[in-house]
Symmetry: C2
Subunit: 518 residues, 2 copies
């Protein structure tokens, strides 16, 4: 797409058509300025098939805010809408509505509360709460979900991969398999969730990181095609990058050619006073080859060089590689811990596409409308009680047990504060008779999760840096029970609602069922 | 991301770091202007788990060309590269290389041949062939793969869904679950592959389409919350969009409330001389509900209204729905063909993310280098013979049998023309003794697939419109055998190489194995 067209496709019209047709309907019915509250949440953790997430890492808010702050209804956008025709050939959008869009529409009239980026989050918890004129909040939906669903999905995958790699350096390499320009949002989310660096140069620039990368097989191939040998390519690389020399050793033959050649070049570097960085393995039995590489590098006096693994890695593959190394390394006289501590994981496709679960089903639901100054909770009854959203204004609390571990998230009505209660009643969202009661003595902390972000479109929230966001992620994951962090078949974290919210919901469901059929 | 930062992240630096470190290495070794040829191809069809593609639809070229034509090395890009440091604290990129980037670098120096968008394509066939100075072609890799892998992936999924829906209207609805701005490239690819329209307003604008969409559950909910009923929301919608009235009927209760209310409103519309468009079903047993909706609409005298189905659809779900309708509709007195012909499929998440296979493994490999005026074929030997790419300059031919069906793609050396041969020898790429021989009398047509696209950066190709690209897709799919088109366990299409190419490859593999170990 040409840059000029991108301005159109990524601006105000980055939305679904039905947001605009609904917007005009609200306008014509005089409902467009009616104050409304919508909540964004997801219903299920990503399910990757044989494995499933036990928590998500919230991400995407900052870029959504940038979009809201910058987006404008341009004349060319209005001209396009003006040209849309009904099936009868009349203009689909009237001048009255278009002039409202032109003169009165702005996301800077909205209020927003949200759980900060980097925080661990769970299903059915409001992550982003938007309040403002009905037609404006409705028109935010598509872009909000697009920004938040994807970054949360990728931050979550990155956290899992980081966990499976036991905190070793993790590099995001997936640009070429990413979904178009989603490569950039994905790289940011990966950096939030657990990647230490990315190969993506542009996004590294934008976020203030140093991008990572060395060379591809094609470089070795080019040398060989011109009549040189693998080692000539290695020598050229070492000459130009003497202090950043990581060599890809699997172009010709990893054990027979690549590693021996790398060791020769490392020795030459050492003589000149440089410290070689490492080797990269990109094919074959990575666990076996890592052990052999370690053995050979150790024997040659390079025990500190790192061994970068890549090639379709994800959390399960990394887990398997580590398990295999734990079993096999001792047989070759290689110390397991020493080897695991020198591993670096380069993860491409399966991180940036969230392989196994390439979407997060976040939704944005109307929860309340103001009529004559009074807020009325809204509800949509679903066939399955679990899918019926929790109505009305709410607060979100995270309750930590005496060990300091998160034990439940609690949704309460807006005027409830569980910190002031002696006993905290946690109800199942779909059944007010089920749940548990916690005594304050069992609780070490009750933390409100929602922060004020926008008030009348103005930021009242100081956006944290990526480094700070990563800090939230690290400390939140540490405060999860091991069972929740488990890669496969994780323990289910409790998301509960307060007794009062439960009663209110029950009453509402009854009144809708009584009053609104046919 | 702010718009200003987007310029950085989507421009020249939209690449992997190793392209730049390799670029500088080529520059320092005096190889950067050495003429090289790279080929883009994929090795495997998307594998969705229980089902798998038997063909792909090529897409993404036009947007890649836009990117190549517009991208510039900006001062701020150079400043960022200038600031990158080696581990020893020295500048990673030298002024010599940066000044080459500034003064001499341009994708407009490249030559490109490619298979046009919309064409059916298969594994190991060169889809895009780029020739030019080594460092420049190398620096194109990431963006090329990003553009082409994703759009081809989505066009392929869209073609499958379109096939499973038997050509009924297909609407792309997936923006909210798309991977960030990849929503736009994905919507374009969906339109190429099989979607008739998209809900994405911006991309519809850019591509000259009318976006599609009606209303969400939230509109009904807003009315109910304010004390009105479902039918009031329907009436409001019908009043404002009398000629485009498609009503979402599952907010309260599909059969008890939604459809009866829709019929009432349709009757009111009819009295005023308008033709109602249809209903949309977004939850529940879609096959059963479609039958009941058809029955009720028929009985009310609305046999022509469409029934839009949505909710996690993909090619298998649609196939199942159609099968169920074929079995059950007669029991309710509903004509199967009549019902199937009024169905419209709204497909979101599973199309725009290519659910089951969210990436296409396209690669970009060096196949030849020019030295002293002569082209030398390049090869990378892989442990698996199937993974060893075909070296050197090639042509790609599609051979049609007497029925006019495509029977094989043939890769030949550049100076071979199978149209001039009496007998066409098709060899297995991994084994020169295996394959088959076709007599010209068995062949109805031999078609060259690669078109000239860029010569010295100038387009020599008249880009087809989306409508024309869809025409290529339609006629190519028609010329596939039914077994290749099958959704599950498709028959494997033959991709062969000529005897001469096979011999050349064999000789090259031998010489690399002999000459380049250690």
């Amino acid at each position: 797409m040409k840059a000029k067209a991108r301005k159109t496709a990524e601006g105000f019209l980055f939305t679904d058509q039905y947001q605009l047709t609904m917007g005009q309907l609200y306008f014509r019915m005089g409902l467009h300025e009616q104050e409304a509250q919508f909540e964004h949440f997801f219903r299920n953790y990503p399910d990757y098939g044989v494995h499933k997430a036990g928590y998500c890492i919230n991400a995407g808010l900052e870029w959504l805010l940038h979009w809201m702050e910058e987006v404008q209804v341009r004349e060319s956008d209005l001209a396009y809408l003006r040209g849309q025709k009904s099936r009868a050939g009349n203009p689909l959008f009237g001048e009255d509505f278009l002039s409202w869009l032109k003169n009165d529409f702005s996301f800077t009239r909205l209020n927003m509360r949200a759980i900060p980026e980097g925080r661990v989050v769970h299903p059915n918890v409001p992550l982003t709460v938007v309040r403002g004129p009905l037609a404006m909040v409705q028109l935010l939906e598509t872009s909000l979900l697009n920004h938040l669903n994807f970054q949360t999905l990728i931050a979550t995958k990155a956290a899992r991969i980081h966990e499976s790699g036991r905190g070793q350096l993790l590099l995001e390499f997936g640009m070429r398999r990413a979904h178009g320009l989603g490569a950039n949002a994905g790289a940011r989310a990966a950096l939030i969730g657990g990647a230490d660096f990315t190969s993506n140069v542009g996004i590294s620039h934008v976020l203030g990181f140093a991008p990572r990368g060395t060379h591809a097989h094609s470089m070795i191939q080019a040398f060989i095609t011109l009549g040189h040998k693998e080692i000539d390519a290695f020598r050229a690389y070492a000459e130009i990058y003497p202090d950043d020399c990581t060599l890809l050793v699997d172009t010709v033959d990893t054990l027979e050619s690549g590693i021996p050649n790398a060791i020769k070049v490392f020795e030459e570097l050492r003589k000149k006073g440089h410290k070689p960085v490492g080797v990269r393995l990109d094919s074959g039995d990575l666990a076996y080859l890592a052990i052999q590489a370690a053995r050979m590098l150790n024997a040659a006096g390079f025990p500190d060089t790192s061994i970068v693994l890549s090639n379709n890695l994800d959390e399960l593959v990394i887990w398997q590689i580590i398990t295999q190394i734990e079993e096999e390394a001792p047989r070759y006289g290689v110390d397991v811990d020493h080897l695991l501590k020198r591993l670096v994981y380069g993860v491409g496709t399966r991180l940036i596409t969230s392989h196994g679960a390439p979407s997060l089903g976040g939704v944005f639901k109307l929860v309340a409308l103001r009529k004559n100054g009074e807020w009325i909770p809204a509800i949509k009854i679903s066939e399955t009680p679990q899918k019926t959203p929790n109505p009305g204004h709410k607060n979100v609390w995270r309750i930590y047990d005496r060990r300091g571990k998160a034990t439940a998230d609690l949704l309460s009505l807006e005027d409830e504060d569980p910190r002031k209660l002696k006993k905290i009643v946690l109800r199942k969202a779909s059944d007010c008779t089920k749940g548990r009661v916690l005594d304050q003595s069992e609780v070490s902390e009750i933390e409100p999760l929602l922060a004020d972000i926008l008030q009348a479109g103005r930021r009242v929230y100081e956006s944290p840096s990526i480094e700070e966001i990563r800090g939230f992620r690290r400390s939140d994951i540490e405060r999860l029970d091991a069972g929740i962090r488990r890669l496969m078949n994780p323990h289910i974290y409790h998301v509960s609602i307060s007794q009062r919210l439960c009663e209110m919901k029950k009453a509402l469901i009854r009144s809708v069922k009584d009053g609104n059929s046919a």
